[in-house]
C-alpha cells in the first residue's frame, strides 16, 4: 500500500498539477465534440468538420457573422455575381491579392495568388468521380456540362481536369463564369458551404493522398500539418489579406458589444486551440475550469447551466459567463415508412401524432428549451409562419382514440407491433421508450429497434424499417432544404427516408424550388409546409435550441447556424480574463 501511495505521489509530482491558463498570447480555446477526419473541403459533410475546414479554407461567399436573417456577403468573390436575365448565367469577379498559405507545394514554398482557375479546379474536384465527394449532391445536375464531365471521367483511368466544362469557365485570371441547367436559387448558398471552398491544384498534386493532412487555403489561420491528436492548434496567417470586422449588424448587436471591433483588421487573435473532447463530463469540467472559452451545452449539462425559466444559473453568472440560447434550424421527427401498407392510413398517422405528449417530452429531454414542430420547416426560415398551428400537433388522447376507431384500429386492435428504429445511445433509447409509453395509451404496441449508426442508416436507405427517429439540420438557410425531405424523388436512399409520396406536394415543390426568393415563393413554401404538416407524414417532434455558454473574455461570439467562417471574427479580452480567472 505504501508503494501505491509513493506511486501516486510521484505521478502527482511529475504531472506538476494541471496546466495553468495562458495570458500572454491572444488565443482562444474551443471544443470540437467529434474527431476531425481531415481537411479536404469536398468531404466536410457535417457542422464540426466544416468548422475546422473553415478556419483554413475559404469560399467565394460567406454568411455575414452578425446580420439575421442570414445574409451572404462576398468573400473570395469581390462582389455578388452578375446574373443573366434568365437566372442561368453567373459572372463572378475574384478578389485580387488573395494569397494561398505558404507551403512546400509551391515553388520556393511561397503561396501564390488566387486565380479564377482555382475556383474552376475546386468545383471540378467536387465532381471528380475518383474522389466521390460527400458534397457532390450540392451541384449534381446543376451546372451545364459538369455531370457529363463527371460521367466521362469515371470511365477514364485519371480524371482530366484540363478538359473544359461548358458551364464552368475562367474568362480571365479574375473572372469565372458558371452556367446553370435550370434556375437554382440556392446556388450562392452552395458557394458559401465548405464543400466548395477553394484549394490550389499544386497542393492537391504535391501531397497526393495526404492532401487532407496538409491544408493549404487562403484562410485567416494556418495549420501546416494535421495530426490526429487531442488538440488542433491554428496560427494566425501573417499574409492574410486586408479584411475587416463588419461595422453593421442586427439591431441590438451594438449593445451586446458585438460591434466594438468594427473596422478592425481580422483575425483578432493569434492562435486558436481546438480541443477534441467527445464525452460530456470532460467538456463541462474543462469549461468550468476556464480551459475552454465556449461550450455547446447538451443533454445532461442543460440542467446544470440554466434555470427552469431558461435563465443562467447564478454560479455561472458570478463568473461573468454569458448564456446564448437560440433556436436551431432543425427538426426532429418519428418517420413512418410510407411503403408499409399500415401507414398508408392517414387517420392512424394523425392519431399517433395526437397521442404524442410533446410537452412532457420537451421537459424531460430538452429542459423545455425546444419548440414543438408544427411542420417540417423550422422558425426563422421563409415558409414557417407563427400563426400556423398543426391540428395534429397537440396532446389529445380522446381525439386520438376516435381517429383510431375511424382508422379501423379501435383501441389498437388489429394493429401489429410497430418497431421504431433508433441508435443504441442511452438518450435515443430513452426517447423511444417515452414514445412507446405515449402510444400505449391508444393501444399501439411499440417495439424498440436499437442499431449502431451504420445499421440505422442502412435500414433507412434500404427501406427496411417501419418507423425510425432522426433529426435534420439545415445545410443552408432555405426551407427547400427541409421540404425536400418529403419530396417523392428524394425517397430512400435519398433524404426522404419516410418514402412519403404526395403528387400534389411534389408538383408544388418542383414549382417552388426553381423560384428565386420572393413573396410568391414564400407563399408556396407556406402551402407546402401546411400540406406536409396536416398529412402527418411523420410524427412531428421539435425544433431544438442551441445553448452556448461563453466566458466573459470571449468577444464577438454570436450564435450562427452556418459558422464555418465565424472564427476569424472572434476576439479575446485578456484584461477581463486576468481579472475573472481567479473566480475559477
Amino acid at each position: 500500500m505504501k508503494s501505491l501511495v509513493l506511486l501516486i505521489s510521484t505521478l502527482l509530482l511529475v504531472s506538476g498539477c494541471s496546466k495553468q491558463n495562458s495570458f500572454d498570447e491572444r488565443e482562444i480555446n474551443l471544443i470540437s465534440p467529434q474527431k476531425v477526419s481531415g481537411f479536404d473541403p469536398i468531404n466536410s459533410s457535417d457542422r464540426y468538420s466544416g468548422n475546422e475546414t473553415g478556419k483554413v479554407y475559404e469560399g467565394l461567399f460567406e454568411f455575414h457573422p452578425l446580420k439575421r436573417p442570414y445574409e451572404l456577403m462576398p468573400n473570395l468573390a469581390e462582389s455578388l455575381p452578375t446574373i443573366s436575365a434568365d437566372g442561368l448565367t453567373y459572372l463572378f469577379k475574384i478578389r485580387k491579392g488573395v494569397l494561398f498559405h505558404d507551403s512546400p507545394a509551391f515553388p520556393d514554398g511561397v503561396g501564390r495568388e488566387l486565380r479564377a482557375n482555382d475556383i474552376v479546379y475546386s468545383i471540378k474536384r467536387l465532381a471528380d468521380p475518383k474522389l466521390n465527394a460527400k458534397g457532390w449532391w450540392l451541384l449534381d445536375d446543376k451546372i451545364v456540362g459538369l455531370n457529363e464531365w463527371k460521367n466521362k471521367n469515371s470511365a477514364e483511368e485519371k480524371t482530366n481536369y484540363s478538359e473544359e466544362v461548358e458551364g464552368l469557365k475562367s474568362l480571365d485570371d479574375y473572372t469565372v463564369q458558371m452556367k446553370l441547367k435550370k434556375p437554382y436559387p440556392q446556388f450562392l448558398y452552395a458557394l458559401a458551404m465548405p464543400y466548395t471552398f477553394i484549394v490550389p491544384i499544386e497542393a492537391v498534386e504535391h501531397f497526393g493522398k495526404e492532401f487532407l493532412n496538409y491544408p493549404v487555403g487562403t484562410g485567416a489561420f494556418l495549420l501546416p500539418k494535421f495530426e490526429q491528436s487531442s488538440m488542433i492548434t491554428y496560427l494566425r496567417n501573417p499574409k492574410f489579406r486586408e479584411k475587416f470586422y463588419p461595422s453593421e449588424g442586427e439591431v441590438g448587436d451594438d449593445k451586446l458589444g458585438l460591434l466594438a471591433d468594427a473596422g478592425k483588421k481580422i483575425p483578432l487573435v493569434d492562435k486558436i486551440n481546438v480541443h477534441i473532447v467527445v464525452e460530456s463530463q470532460p467538456k463541462w469540467l474543462s469549461f468550468l475550469k476556464a480551459k475552454d472559452d465556449l461550450l455547446e451545452v447538451k443533454d445532461v449539462n442543460i440542467q446544470q447551466s440554466i434555470n427552469s425559466d431558461k435563465t443562467l444559473k447564478d454560479e455561472h453568472k458570478e463568473k461573468g459567463v454569458r448564456l446564448i440560447l437560440k433556436p436551431m434550424l432543425d427538426v426532429t421527427f418519428y418517420a413512418f415508412n410510407h411503403e408499409d401498407p399500415i401507414f398508408k392510413n392517414k387517420k392512424l398517422r394523425q392519431a399517433m401524432n395526437l397521442a404524442f405528449d410533446r410537452a412532457s417530452y420537451n421537459k424531460l429531454f430538452h429542459e423545455n428549451t425546444a419548440f414543438e414542430a408544427q411542420g417540417p420547416i423550422p422558425p426563422g426560415l421563409g415558409g414557417q409562419t407563427r400563426e400556423f398551428k398543426n391540428p395534429y400537433v397537440k396532446f389529445d388522447l380522446e381525439q386520438a382514440k376516435k381517429l383510431m376507431v375511424e382508422a379501423g384500429y379501435p383501441g389498437g386492435k388489429g394493429l401489429p407491433v410497430i418497431v421504431v428504429q433508433t441508435t443504441s445511445e442511452t438518450i435515443s433509447r430513452q426517447q423511444v421508450e417515452y414514445f412507446e409509453k405515449c402510444m400505449d395509451k391508444i393501444g399501439i404496441n411499440i417495439d424498440l429497434g436499437m442499431n449502431t449508426w451504420p445499421q440505422l442508416v442502412n435500414k433507412v436507405s434500404n427501406k427496411q424499417h417501419q418507423m425510425y427517429t432522426m433529426a435534420w439540420g439545415a445545410d443552408y438557410p432555405d426551407a427547400e432544404n427541409f421540404l425536400g425531405l418529403l419530396y417523392c424523388p428524394n425517397q430512400s436512399p435519398g433524404s426522404n427516408g419516410a418514402n412519403y409520396c404526395n403528387p400534389d406536394f411534389d408538383a408544388l415543390y418542383k414549382q417552388a424550388t426553381v423560384m428565386q426568393d420572393s413573396s410568391e415563393r414564400t407563399d408556396l413554401y407556406e402551402k407546402l409546409n401546411e400540406m406536409g404538416a396536416t398529412d402527418a407524414p411523420w410524427i412531428f417532434g421539435f425544433h431544438r435550441t442551441d445553448i452556448y455558454l461563453a466566458q466573459a473574455w470571449l468577444k464577438n461570439f454570436k450564435h450562427m447556424e452556418f459558422n464555418h467562417s465565424q472564427f476569424q471574427y472572434l476576439n479575446v479580452d485578456l484584461e477581463v480574463k486576468k481579472q475573472l480567472i481567479k473566480k475559477f
Binding site: L12, K35, D140, S154, E279, L285, P454, S461
Partner: protein, 311 residues
C-alpha cells in the same frame, strides 16, 4: 525449441485465413452496405453505386475475400474509407497514446496485484485477507464508468491535481495527461487481478511440497517467494500475456473520457462509420498479436518452470 517456435509461427497462416474469412463474412452479411454511411445524409443511389465500384464492393465475393487475405498477409491495409488517412499511419499515431497509458499502468497494476496477493496469501483467513477480499469484491462491483466520472470530477476538477482531459506527445509531456487515467486503470485492475492471483497462490500453498518445505524449517516468506510464487507463475504468465493485445488496442472508455487519441477511439469510430479497412486491420492485428504472445507465453513457461519442454 526452435522447431516448436517455427511450427507455432506457421500456425499463423491458417489462423489468418480463418480470421480473414470471419471478418469478411461478418462484414458482408451482417453490416450491410457501407456507402450510405460513408456518403452522408444526401447520398444518391447513383453516388452509392459509384462508391461501391470504387471501394471494390461490386467485385465478385471471392475476389473481395482475396483482397482481405492479401492485406492480412502483407499488412498493407490501405486507406481508411471514412477518414481517407493511411491506416498504418493511423495505427502508429494511435498506438503511441494508447500504450503510454496502458503499458505502465498495466505493469504497475500487475506488480501490485501480485504483491498484494502474496500478502493476503501469507495472512490467509486473517483480518487483512478478509478486508482485501471484501475491498476487491466491492471494487469490481462498481462500474468502471463510475470510477472515471468520480475521479475526473474530484481529482482533476475539484482538487486540480491532474489535467481534465487531453494528450501531448513526447515524454514527459504526456505524463500530466495520462496520470489520472493510469491510476484509474490500476485501481480497476487491482480487484480482479488480486482475486485471481490469490486463488492461484492459495492453490499452491496447500500443495505437498509446501508442507515439506515447512517441515524442513523454511520460513513462510522464503516458501512464498522462492517456491510458491515460482510455481504459481505459469497461470500468472498466461493471465498477464493474454491481456497484452487489449493494451495495445487501447482502453476505450478511458481514452474517450480523457480525450486520449488512442486506438480504442479509432476502432470505435471505424465501427460507427462502417470503415471496413480499419476494422479489418484492427481484427487482423489483434489475431497476430494474440498468436505471437501465446507463443511468448509458451517460451516463458520454460523459463518459469524448467520441467516444461517445448517440442
Amino acid at each position: 525449441m526452435l522447431r516448436y517456435i517455427i511450427r507455432r509461427l506457421l500456425y499463423l497462416i491458417p489462423v489468418l485465413l480463418g480470421v480473414s474469412f470471419i471478418i469478411f463474412v461478418l462484414f458482408n452479411l451482417v453490416s450491410g452496405d457501407p456507402t450510405a454511411v460513408l456518403l452522408g445524409k444526401n447520398a444518391t443511389a447513383r453516388q452509392m453505386a459509384d462508391l461501391r465500384d470504387q471501394l471494390g464492393l461490386s467485385k465478385p465475393l471471392i475476389e473481395q475475400y482475396f483482397d482481405v487475405v492479401r492485406s492480412a498477409f502483407t499488412f498493407n491495409f490501405g486507406y481508411s474509407w471514412s477518414t481517407k488517412q493511411e491506416i498504418s499511419q493511423m495505427i502508429i499515431q494511435g498506438a503511441y497514446p494508447s500504450m503510454c497509458l496502458t503499458v505502465p499502468a498495466f505493469i504497475i497494476a500487475t506488480v501490485f496485484s501480485l504483491l498484494i496477493s502474496l500478502v493476503v496469501a501469507f495472512y490467509r483467513g486473517k483480518g487483512i485477507d478478509l478486508f482485501i477480499r471484501i475491498t476487491c469484491i466491492a471494487g469490481v462491483s462498481v462500474s468502471a464508468l463510475a470510477y472515471i466520472l468520480f475521479f475526473q470530477y474530484f481529482f482533476a476538477y475539484k482538487l486540480g491535481w491532474f489535467e481534465i482531459s487531453g494528450f501531448e506527445y513526447g515524454f514527459p509531456d504526456f505524463v500530466p495527461f495520462i496520470a489520472l487515467p493510469a491510476i484509474i486503470f490500476i485501481l480497476l485492475s487491482l480487484g480482479p487481478d488480486v482475486r485471481f492471483f490469490r486463488t492461484i497462490i492459495l492453490d499452491e500453498i496447500y500443495q505437498d511440497y509446501v508442507r515439506t518445505a515447512r517441515a524442513k524449517g523454511l520460513s513462510e516468506i522464503t516458501i512464498l517467494l522462492k517456491h510458491v510464487l515460482r510455481n504459481a507463475l505459469i497461470p500468472v504468465i498466461t493471465y498477464v500475456i493474454i491481456q497484452i493485445p487489449s493494451l495495445i488496442l487501447g482502453a476505450l472508455l478511458l481514452e474517450n473520457f480523457f480525450s486520449i487519441p488512442g486506438l480504442g477511439g479509432m476502432t470505435l469510430n471505424a465501427l460507427n462509420s462502417s470503415d471496413f479497412p480499419v476494422i479489418k486491420a484492427m481484427a487482423i492485428l489483434s489475431s497476430v498479436l494474440y498468436i505471437l504472445l501465446s507463443l511468448l507465453t509458451d517460451v516463458l513457461y520454460t523459463l518459469a518452470d524448467p520441467r516444461v519442454k517445448l517440442k
